[in-house]
Subunit: 208 residues, 2 copies
DNA sequence: TTAAAATGCGAGCGTTCGCTCACATTGTCT
DNA sequence: AGACAATGTGAGCGAACGCTCGCATTTTAA
């Protein structure tokens, strides 16, 4: 399997000075990652780009993997906090409306620094964060399943769990694929319409 | 950007002996890749696993990247030949039936050496084969769009192109996600049913 | 049979890069 | 002011690994 290096941070910054250092290192990591890719990302390059010595870098990150893992963690948590909060809020709305909101939400989430998102997505398995990602996936999945189960009688579905799997996969995938392969489609409102249509027709909510 | 090494093979094997060598090298690459991941795949390890000297390996592959690229090429072409052929055949069937066939087909395609498929999927962008992948994607996309356009009057869709994008993304994604995260679902016939339902309801073909 | 081409071999060269360590500087506390 | 902790520095060590090259063996063809 993958070389599963320990990715926990080495030491937590106490003073303001060092917190700035850690921040500089992380943003430098992001820049180098986007410009050069993971393979050509060297710890020395990151240190230089951050305007920090290589020694300082190793005060806070035990190895190269931990560096990217930390960045990924931050990215995942940021992204997910937004999504989960919104998902909860949306649960109150009529289902047709909720569907559209979720689609829009997913698109918005992918539109924040898509380049970084792409690189990070590609590196997830190498950095050993698949588990965490799967965990969050599971949470989304269950929230949607709950939402569907609560309104089962308005819907044309039998198994809310299975339906949730299908829906979460679908929405995430359409947006993800659009973001990676056809970024212009993300700006196309018709993509939102069409994806929403897919969802509502599947759920048996469609007016037309 | 990525270190875009030349990935073209160095020399084509002429005799039977060398063809066997190249084959051994490629299957060894697959084995090592699955067992150790790309990062821990070394050319020396591949050579050893193939029962071939490192010198011989470099007779046919200019570098490590080319090795993985060749394997990936083979995998992509194999997978896609099957899919495209079947897609053509299915185009004759009634749409409801065709939908189910395509879903089943996609699942079958992912069930062939899923471990290798997973590793390769994760490694694709780093080997510079994204372009080829996108090309094949485009072909699928256009075939489906053509199929939808031809029977537009039976369907509840406006833009066959957009609908094709949505459908191809959807089916691929559900299967892909199931294969990577929840392999047991691939054996669950209800997944096929449910995905087919998603497709047919979206297209306005559903009986129920 | 024999020359040339194709193929196979593997010790080890050269480079890259992750990472340490001994020391310097800055901040905190009393 | 002095002492101790926190933080910052960067030359360079060591190991890993991609890849070459000179030579051995096998196959082809005349």
């Amino acid at each position: 399997m993958q070389r599963q290096t320990r990715t926990a941070p080495r030491k937590r910054p106490r003073q303001e000075r060092s917190r700035a250092t850690v921040d500089a290192i992380l943003s430098a990591t992001a820049r180098v990652l986007v410009r050069h890719g993971y393979d050509d990302l060297t710890t020395n390059a990151v240190a230089t780009a951050a305007g920090v010595s290589i020694g300082s870098l190793y005060q806070y990150f035990p190895n190269k993997t931990a560096l990217v893992a930390a960045l990924l963690d931050r990215h995942i948590e940021d992204m997910n906090a937004a999504v989960l909060a919104e998902l909860t809020r949306v649960a109150q709305l009529p289902l047709a409306e909720a569907s559209r909101c979720v689609v829009e939400l997913t698109i918005r989430a992918h539109a924040v620094d898509p380049e970084l998102h792409r690189v990070l997505t590609e590196q997830v398995p190498r950095v050993g964060k698949l588990a965490r990602l799967r965990e969050l996936d599971e949470i989304c999945h269950r929230m949607v399943a709950g939402l569907l189960a609560a309104r089962k009688d308005e819907l044309a579905i039998r198994d809310p769990d299975l339906a949730a799997f299908v829906l979460v996969s679908t929405i995430e995938a359409i947006v993800h694929r659009a973001a990676l392969l056809y970024p212009h489609r993300l700006r196309d409102p018709r993509l939102i319409d069409e994806t929403t249509l897919l969802v509502t027709r599947y759920l048996g909510l469609a007016a037309n």
